[in-house]
């Protein structure tokens, strides 16, 4: 049972997504996306029809990413639990809805133009996270992402 957040957890999602014809049907995705949970940062690379790489990254790497998704540990947990419960994010928990609910935005970037990749590939990224409904997730204790 993979633990969120970890490279192992993202790789489990990556494998499901890459094997899913519905993900391919959404079309090509070309973006480097950060996931920030507390102090932990992960980098997801999407190329053509798949997620090609997952790695743990650092604060300095954010500058090279198209954008990163950032919310508190509790908000991440709520989002993933909602996806698990419904099989996909409900209207209150889509990436777009969360983005609009946060004054500073859920998708952030050092670059006003590259951030738009969040909108261009929104449904593919949503599909990626929705795939987490297919696995049982263990959540790391909050203190594990604090440092």
């Amino acid at each position: 049972m993979p633990t969120f957040p970890s490279v192992e957890w993202f790789n489990a999602i990556r494998e499901i997504t890459n094997a899913d014809p519905a993900f391919r049907q959404l079309g090509t995705v070309d973006a480097v996306i950060g996931i920030k949970v507390g102090q932990k940062i992960f980098e997801l690379t999407f190329e053509a029809f798949e997620c090609t790489n997952v790695r743990e990254a650092g604060e300095n790497d954010l500058r090279d990413m198209d954008f990163w998704l950032e919310q508190s540990y509790d908000q991440w947990k709520e989002m993933l639990e909602n996806i698990k419960r419904n099989g996909a994010a409900d209207l209150s928990h889509t990436l777009n809805t969360i983005d609009l609910s946060m004054p500073e935005g859920f998708a952030r970037s050092h670059d006003g133009y590259r951030r738009d990749a969040f909108y261009r590939f929104n449904q593919s990224i949503q599909d990626f996270f929705n795939a987490s409904a297919k696995i049982d997730t263990t959540f790391a204790p909050p203190e594990a992402v604090a440092a």
């Binding site: 079309g27 070309d30 053509a48 209207l91 889509t94 609009l100 006003g112 133009y113 951030r115």
Partner: protein, 458 residues
């Protein structure tokens, strides 16, 4: 008609050999009354052995090959010699056609020239000179992870996109021009006026990420809505549908202005037209699918800034950067406040399409400024004008504003709450608009229209 064996002069024999006319056919023709000079003339004009045989057979049978009295009379009056008429018939022309040509005033010389060009009804002679054309050969584009993309084939000379395109015709980039071809009437020959490096990859992205409103949208999830909400979403759909149609129409006008050297831009813009058509379609369908109907037409002041743009860059930055930034925000908020999975789906997909349009506009602006620093103030003035007309729309278009407010608030009674969300939507759109412009090296933070700035300061 004589049938006895005729002597073949050496010159005719040599010509017959060269043109693959069997000697028995030559003898037959001579026997039928043709002179050696006439036969050499026919051969030089491209009459084949088969055609000649058919002609002789027809003459022998007194059928189509024979010249009718009417045709003879017309030919005489038009000044066409009888042997020319016979030759044309031998090459397959119909009597009625020849009479028509004569009536049209085609002279004997013109007819002879036309027949010599190999287009007189017979098959043209083989000409393989095109196989020696000096284009870049041995090109082997390889498919990438994305397939065989436009970028993948942009190799060698085919990938060289000149700053100025010199050809006025429809000649594809990398082909060899031929003289005398008429111009296409393009007016844009400068790369900086239209270019973005994103055109080729985003053309592919648009093709790959297409969707089908008729069958992809879960239409059956739409339940009856209270009257005020149904009226609100129908007014919103009227607005979004109308806006998309204007964008498609105006791009359609610019497409034929862009010269063929920048085909990546032409192709990408074609996908934008298609996506606008899809937006027109899907919002119209939503309006007409749940007991409602269309609403009020928009005042259209902001449409004027794109319809009346006098150069392509002006159109592109106002449409794709300013106006589409606002439309993208409308789609984002539309998804958040969707009343059913169908509306959520529609807004979410439309959002992806719209974000591509913005990416083109903003990257084009950056390219133009990078290559023509002197246009900086010019662009600022376009935005001044575009924002001004947008503000006029804001003042006049109560229907769209109030419809969004009711949709966001959840009912007519909560329109005040909804109006706060509407203002947030505007503020977010303008904030992102300024951030995008900053990326393109254009700072409008001090120049934004005061009435738009008010949204940011609220």
């Amino acid at each position: 008609m004589a049938n006895e064996t005729a002597t073949i002069p050496d010159a005719l024999r040599a010509k017959a050999q060269e043109k693959a006319w069997p000697l028995d056919l030559v003898q037959q023709a001579l026997g039928a009354g043709a002179t050696p000079e006439q036969l050499i003339g026919y051969m030089d004009q491209g009459v084949t052995a088969d055609q000649a045989r058919q002609f002789l057979a027809a003459q022998a049978g007194g059928a189509a090959g024979a010249v009718s009295d009417e045709l003879k009379a017309r030919a005489e009056s038009a000044g066409w010699p009888l042997d020319l008429v016979q030759q044309a018939l031998a090459m397959g022309a119909a009597e009625a056609d020849l009479i028509r040509y004569m009536d049209m005033g085609v002279t004997a010389d013109q007819a002879r020239q036309f027949m010599m060009s190999g287009q007189g009804g017979g098959a043209p002679e083989v000409d393989l000179s095109w196989m020696q054309v000096p284009t870049e050969w041995n090109t082997r584009a390889k498919p990438t992870k994305h397939g065989l993309t436009l970028e993948a084939i942009n190799i060698g000379k085919y990938g060289e996109v000149p700053d100025t395109w010199e050809y006025q015709t429809e000649m594809p980039r990398g082909a060899v021009p031929i003289p005398g071809v008429e111009g296409m009437g393009y007016s844009i020959y400068e790369k900086q006026e239209v270019w973005s490096d994103l055109c080729a990859p985003m053309y592919e992205e648009a093709i790959q990420r297409r969707w089908r409103p008729a069958t992809d949208v879960p239409w059956t999830t739409i339940e009856p809505l209270p009257d005020d909400l149904e009226r609100a979403i129908c007014q919103i759909c009227t607005h979004l549908s109308e806006k998309a149609q204007v964008e498609a129409d105006v791009i359609g006008r610019w497409e034929p202005e862009i010269s063929y050297g920048y085909h990546e831009v032409k192709l990408y813009l074609a996908t934008v037209v298609f996506e606008d058509a899809r937006a027109v379609e899907v919002f119209r369908k939503r309006a007409l699918s749940n007991g409602g109907g269309l609403g009020l037409q928009a005042p259209g002041w902001s449409f004027r800034s794109v319809v009346d743009a006098r150069n392509f860059s002006e159109f592109a930055v106002i449409q794709f950067v300013l106006q589409d930034s606002l439309t993208l925000a409308q789609y984002q908020y539309g998804e958040k406040y969707a009343k059913n999975p169908a509306e959520q789906f529609i807004f979410a997909r439309a959002m992806q399409d719209k974000a591509r349009h913005i990416a083109y506009g903003i990257s084009h602006l950056k390219y133009a400024l990078l290559h023509r620093e002197d246009r900086r103030e010019e662009f600022q003035r376009y935005f001044d004008k575009g924002e001004g007309l947008l503000v006029m729309d804001d003042a006049k278009d109560a229907a769209t504003r109030e419809a969004f407010a009711i949709y966001f608030g959840g009912s007519k009674d909560k329109i005040a709450e909804g109006m706060q969300i509407y203002k947030q939507m505007r503020a977010r759109a303008l904030d992102q608009y300024l951030a995008r412009l900053k990326w393109a090296t254009l700072d409008r933070s001090d120049r934004l229209h005061p009435k738009l700035r008010a949204y940011l300061e609220d």
